[in-house]
Symmetry: C2
Subunit: 389 residues, 2 copies
């Protein structure tokens, strides 16, 4: 039989294409970032005509709101490079500053969006970064689907993690509702939070019980994450309107009803948890006391605490009374995590003092650092193993 | 009750942060791209100190392998801009060339990875671009999960689209296996192909039957898409080894067995389709004849046709004989799509001539353009409505 098509031709043609693009775009076959065996990390960026290239990364100390940066050094081929000191095992984000302009790394196709910014990422293993990596363990499933929210009168998108074995089992599972912060959406815990990797790994290590994790969208004015809804592609803002005005808390039963009628979940208090970061911590605080006999496990990660004085909604009436009721009804864990340099530290401290005065018990974990995903991944890794035991 | 936390403080602090970042990174609050009402599109990029900024987009005619580009014009605030002529409704990719360096658009957080390149995207509506957009219709679900492949001795990741209503129904559904090209993976049809939007819209319009679409990973050496598997984050190559050596076709029953035992799918030939682009067209050609009484619907989108002469595998023995058998067994649709300027045009022409000589019937659609996702989205939009009728 005549050989019509040869694979070789395909390869040659595509190499020619890649080569032409390199010539035009200045992208040599260089590796960046390169995580070295001693946990230093080398970054490379080809820009023969640039006058100055800096590296900025979220592990560098910032001065106030200005992120830290390091000068890179150019070699005789026009490739700028910089090697860090050994970095602690974690997931990191970085960018280049090319003659003052922020640039993504053309040699690293892995980026994560946070609100309207897109940042390259990498993982340094050998510690907690391993928990954020895909390992050779059984994997759960991640489902993006839409549910009907009668309270908000719209279809809304939701992301759901089911643990390994869920599909082939007939058991009912406990459920964690895990909420994002301001500027986030139903994608945040998956992309920035490495939720499915953390859960797969904790479950494989026997540290966390197999559970379903529900990641709703906490912005009542949105049907879905930016780019995934009716507005199409648009530049998202940090503060979505109407996120902390009571309507999310009031509509939360729509989400629970959807989950409980579509997934094999246990529906008693002892098998329901709610937690969230920043605005999601605010939502978790108020949902857990507004529906006081619902969640035996509550997690407040760097939480915003009380509503703005201008907000009036029945959800926020008699906060003290409903906390008292929550305390009387009993629960198994009220977990609070906060970074030492978080700008919400003081309001968190005052809230804990309030709980102390009421005699309402909680677990408190204080970490270095501030209002960051670095901390929220750690809080999840500590919180999830304490659930449903 | 004392108001500990005020939302206003949160907003002020984050605005301060955003402002500091802008000062450092030069990112003003500008909109780019802006799709204007006359379907022209305006791009903006702030770079006061750049000497030359160009826009390159996949709608521009290329010269050989060099993509077209247009000079942008700088205003007195250092913002470079360019407005296109009216563009046909479609999904487009673009980048900036800043003093010769390729740059993503810092004002557009929507990017799609293709092999190792990440490109900003936008949609011009009012035509076929509407089919690639999220519209106010019922939405299917997209599931990322892992299955066991005994033939390949590993867990592998797979993406599955289930149509609106699947979860609440008890019906069995027809199934389309839709395969990616070289350099792609189980994410390609979702991200570059806009599979879930196209299917949601075609089903809502009554043009396509509700069906399950299975998106496997066609690279037998990979467990998952780059970044989603055990190798972690790495820079992917265009040609993954061992992609067209017979092992994928030979292991394909693992995928079908997983789907048929985990989803409510019809299991007769009349309710099974297989299609793919480029290398995935090659896989579809060979799978559909190697298992000749399995698929009543076959789609070859810009397909690579025959194996490299150096490849020896029983899958590729007696190609003519198995095609004869496929023809004798009968099928409902053998659909071939090819772009006029595709570098695989000639091999496709020779394959059609071979089918003509055998008397093997097929439908043929020829489009403008070449080996592009622009064409593959069109082919899917034409092929899916012809299935299972």
């Amino acid at each position: 039989m005549k050989r019509i098509f040869s694979l070789t031709i395909l390869v040659i043609l595509f190499c020619a294409s890649a080569s032409a693009q390199q010539a035009l775009w200045g992208g040599a076959q260089i590796t960046s970032p390169e995580v070295n065996s001693d946990k230093t990390v080398t970054f490379r960026f080809q820009a023969p005509d640039a006058k100055e290239v800096k590296l900025t990364g979220d592990w560098m100390p910032s001065e106030g709101w200005v992120p830290g940066s390091e000068l890179m050094i150019k070699d005789d081929k026009g490739v700028w490079s910089f090697t860090t000191k050994p970095l602690e095992s974690d997931l990191y984000g970085y960018a280049f500053l090319v003659d003052g302009l922020r640039s993504t790394d053309p040699n690293n196709p892995f980026l994560i969006r946070d609100v309207a910014s897109v940042t390259n990422v990498f993982i340094v293993g050998g510690g907690k970064g391993d928990l954020y990596s895909v390992n050779d363990v059984l994997h759960g499933s991640v489902i993006r689907r839409w549910y009907d929210s009668p309270s908000l009168k719209k279809q809304r998108r939701i992301t759901i993690y089911t643990p390994p074995g869920y599909e082939s089992s007939t058991d009912n599972y406990p459920v964690l509702y895990l909420l994002h912060g301001a500027g986030g959406d139903e994608e945040a815990w998956i992309n920035l939070g490495r939720l499915s990797q953390i859960m797969d790994n904790l479950i494989a290590q026997g540290k966390a019980k197999p559970m379903i994790v529900v990641l709703p969208n906490g912005n009542v004015s949105q049907s879905a994450a930016p780019g995934e809804g009716l507005r199409g592609f648009y530049k998202p803002q940090f503060m979505v309107p109407n996120t902390m005005d009571g309507n999310y808390e009031a509509s939360f039963p729509d989400i629970m009803k959807f989950v409980e009628s579509n997934y094999r979940v246990k529906t008693d208090n002892a098998n329901r948890a709610i937690a969230g970061l920043s605005m999601g911590g605010f939502h978790s605080l108020h949902i857990s006391r507004y529906y006081p006999n619902t969640f035996d496990y509550v997690g407040l990660f760097s939480a915003a605490i009380l509503p703005n004085q201008d907000v009036s909604h029945e959800v926020y009436n008699d906060i003290d009374g409903s906390l008292e009721k929550q305390m009387e009804n009993g629960y198994k864990l009220y977990w609070i995590g906060m970074g030492k340099t978080d700008f919400l530290y003081k309001s968190g401290e005052e809230y804990r003092s309030k709980l102390d005065n009421m005699g309402m018990k909680y677990n408190y974990v204080e970490t270095d650092g501030g209002h960051t995903w670095t901390n929220w991944r750690v809080y999840l890794s500590q919180f999830a193993p304490m659930l449903f035991k």
